[in-house]
């Protein structure tokens, strides 16, 4: 009886639990998967994503490393060279910066510089983004840096089910994956069946989270729930908004984005990262290049301001919220000033 399965199977789960389960399942399925990072062992990570792994798989599979991010990622490179699949945890977005040289100069390039002979199947998990009242250096969104580095895949889930599926896909990938975990969604709940997790298409597939016809909100990670909420609120204004969750920034599922915008004729890109030099520019350019004749209005961006991440007491002014998204939608030239004679 299917009702019995539903009764015992689906239950509320948080994104952090789904990530933990993904690590556990990946480690059980493949002895080459090793987790390493700061406090990931006994403590289970500061966000508890690795809770119980050291206990279940031993300290050699889930290792508390010395406190040195370049060393963590650098040793992961060597481990991958010897055939392991390291999953590295950076404790917070900005704490990962000491490892950027290893990431940019080795992790991203090793396959290429060795003409395919030394692929590095490394997953770098990075809790990112703001909205949790974190003090300085705990709330950065630096995905543009990773996106601009050829050789890296860049992935970020927005739902409990995707968190599991994308992390399994990242660990299974033979390419290095920067896995960005929206930390303010760690405790977001959804009904989920941990013993029969939903299939998630591989890395590089966007998903339409909400069907709509008036305009497309292109977004990812922590801004997906914001855009869904904005889309609901927009109904009162008579706008039927489509929401595309990119899930993967590299590779970018251009086809889903382009198909959506060609249908709706309008687009707003929404993300927390600073606008200047941010992912929104790349997305807006892609839409302009491929949807020009379908566009009714310029592509707009709603992003974090071009400021260093603000103090917690000011972050609500910085983070793109529902109102700011709706304001942008309102500016999509619904009633052309040209045709109504309003222009002067």
């Amino acid at each position: 009886m299917t009702t019995a399965v539903t009764a015992t199977g689906r239950r509320p789960a948080t994104m952090s639990q789904a990530l933990n389960r993904a690590l556990r399942d990946a480690m059980a399925a493949d002895p080459a998967v090793h987790v390493l990072g700061e406090d990931v062992g006994t403590l289970g990570g500061v966000f508890r994503i690795t809770a119980g792994l050291a206990e279940e798989f031993g300290d050699d599979r889930c290792t508390d490393t010395p406190l040195a991010e370049a060393g963590i990622l650098g040793t992961a490179v060597g481990m991958a060279m010897y055939g392991l699949r390291p999953v590295v945890e950076m404790q917070f977005d900005a704490f990962g910066y000491p490892s950027l040289e290893q990431l940019f100069s080795h992790v991203a390039k090793m396959r290429n510089r060795t003409r395919g002979r030394l692929p590095l199947p490394i997953t770098v998990r990075i809790p990112y983004g703001g909205g949790i009242g974190g003090v300085e250096h705990h709330s950065d969104s630096s995905e543009a840096l990773y996106m601009a580095t050829p050789g890296l895949h860049v992935v970020t889930p927005a739902t409990v089910a995707d968190a599991y599926g994308l992390l399994r896909a990242a660990i299974a990938s033979d390419d290095p994956v920067v896995f960005l975990e929206p930390k303010r969604l760690y405790w977001a709940k959804a009904d989920w069946e941990p013993d029969r997790p939903e299939e998630v298409p591989g890395i590089g597939t966007a998903v339409v989270r909400r069907r709509g016809s008036s305009a497309t909100l292109i977004t990812y990670g922590p801004s997906v729930p914001v855009c869904l909420e904005a889309a609901e609120a927009a109904r009162a204004e008579g706008w039927d908004l489509e929401v595309v969750d990119l899930r993967s920034l590299v590779p970018l599922d251009e086809e889903t984005v382009v198909a959506s915008v060609r249908r709706t004729g309008r687009a707003v890109v929404v993300h927390e990262a600073a606008g200047f030099g941010g992912p929104g520019g790349e997305l807006a350019a892609t839409v302009a290049e491929r949807c020009f004749h379908h566009l009714e209005a310029p592509v707009l961006r709603v992003t974090g301001f071009d400021v260093p991440y603000p103090p917690p007491m000011l972050e609500k002014h910085h983070l793109p919220g529902v109102d700011r998204v709706l304001d942008a939608v309102a500016r999509l030239q619904w009633e052309s000033e040209w045709t109504s004679g309003g222009a002067n």
């Binding site: 050699d60 060393g71 650098g74 510089r113 003409r115 390419d175 590779p251």
Partner: protein, 378 residues
């Protein structure tokens, strides 16, 4: 088990009975650089090993001069010579077993070649061809590393993974005096010590990081003294004394293989040539200094020892030099052939599978190449 119950994780409050966690004395380096040539111990050295080292040194020196000459002929874009450091290069390669891994820096092509790598393949990086012209797994030689000291954590991770797998594989990582100032040097040594990874760190202290002398690089008593801070035993050795370097490195490799953990080796040597062909060494060092080191040349030191013990006559010397000339001529001939690179390969190794963007860019380049071809045909 709580944190406090875990062995080694609980630190008692300081008391009068405080003692260091390990005894630092055995970790300290030799008071004098370890030497064999010119000492009574030299008499006991295995003649076969000495002849093997000598052959490698002679060919290594010739390789350095040939590669430098290739830069003048435009066949190499740049060559960071290891002339004067051949004893370190050769000993590093010979201290390892086949199953071990070498992690060279960009100045260590000679070590890679002494390990069996094809000289032309080893030079692709420096001739403008693909960055790593060889399969690192074939001879277990990691890519020649340009960002200084960044390959040291790789050596630690690989050695750690090997140990976890139960394989008795050792990694030997090479770095220069300048590289010891990098953060990755520190992190690699620390990780290696904590994990007891089977790694040997060889610091070739050649006196200069391009132009910057050691005194501007560190205030440590010696680079070998840095080991004690990590709980790693260190050895100091005359880097121009090939059998001494070989013995010290072999001992460190044996110790690592037996589960004894990492060793830091500082080899005192000198870069007789400039940093690269593009460098002017007269701007930062005197002729007298270079001359003094030329008088302590690794090839001549070993040659003298072999002659003293009657293990080498003029005929042998001539034969070794002839072999080196043949190697140089072959290298010259092969390097004079223009490598053929396929531009379309640009897109082949970025990811396991090309992304949509890379597919489009590949098509663009293919069309450009076809158009250029058509243009030439007309």
């Amino acid at each position: 088990m709580t944190v406090l119950e875990q062995p080694g994780s609980h630190r008692p409050p300081p008391s009068r009975a405080w003692r260091p966690r390990t005894d630092p004395a055995p970790l300290l380096p030799d008071e004098e650089p370890y030497r064999l040539l010119g000492t009574p111990a030299a008499d006991a050295l295995d003649p076969g090993l000495l002849r093997l080292l000598y052959g490698h040194l002679v060919r290594g020196r010739r390789y350095n001069t040939q590669a430098t000459a290739l830069t003048r002929q435009g066949r190499l874009a740049v060559y960071p010579s290891s002339s004067g450091q051949e004893a370190c290069q050769v000993a590093a390669a010979l201290a390892l077993e086949e199953r071990d891994w070498l992690f060279p820096s960009y100045r260590d092509t000679l070590a890679a070649i002494a390990r069996g790598l094809d000289p032309v393949q080893a030079l692709t990086l420096l001739r403008g061809d693909w960055h790593t012209g060889y399969d690192p797994r074939e001879h277990r030689v990691a890519p020649l590393c340009t960002p200084l000291a960044t390959q040291l954590p790789h050596a630690v991770g690989l050695a750690h993974a090997a140990r976890l797998a139960g394989d008795d594989v050792v990694a030997l990582a090479m770095v220069g005096d300048g590289g010891t100032s990098e953060g990755d040097f520190h992190e690699a040594l620390n990780f290696a010590a904590v994990w007891k990874a089977p790694v040997v760190f060889l610091v070739q202290n050649n006196g200069f990081a391009i132009s910057v002398p050691l005194a501007k690089q560190t205030a440590a008593p010696s680079l070998a003294h840095k080991g004690v801070g990590y709980g790693i035993p260190a050895r100091l050795v005359d880097g121009n004394d090939a059998p001494a370097v070989h013995e010290v490195l072999s001992g460190a490799v044996r110790r690592a293989r037996a589960g004894g953990g990492p060793t830091l080796v500082e080899a005192l040597t000198y870069r007789v040539d400039a940093h690269t062909n593009a460098d002017d060494a007269t701007r930062y060092r005197t002729d007298a200094e270079v001359a003094a080191w030329r008088a302590h040349d690794p090839v001549e030191l070993l040659e003298r020892e072999l002659a003293r013990r009657g293990l080498l006559d003029e005929k042998d010397v001539a034969a070794e030099r002839e072999a080196a000339e043949r190697m140089a001529a072959e290298l010259r001939d092969r390097m004079n052939e223009d490598p053929v690179l396929d531009p379309m390969e640009l897109f082949d190794h970025v990811y396991a599978r090309r992304t949509g963007r890379l597919r489009r860019q590949a098509e663009q380049l293919r069309a450009e190449l076809a158009a250029a071809e058509e243009g030439t045909d007309r």
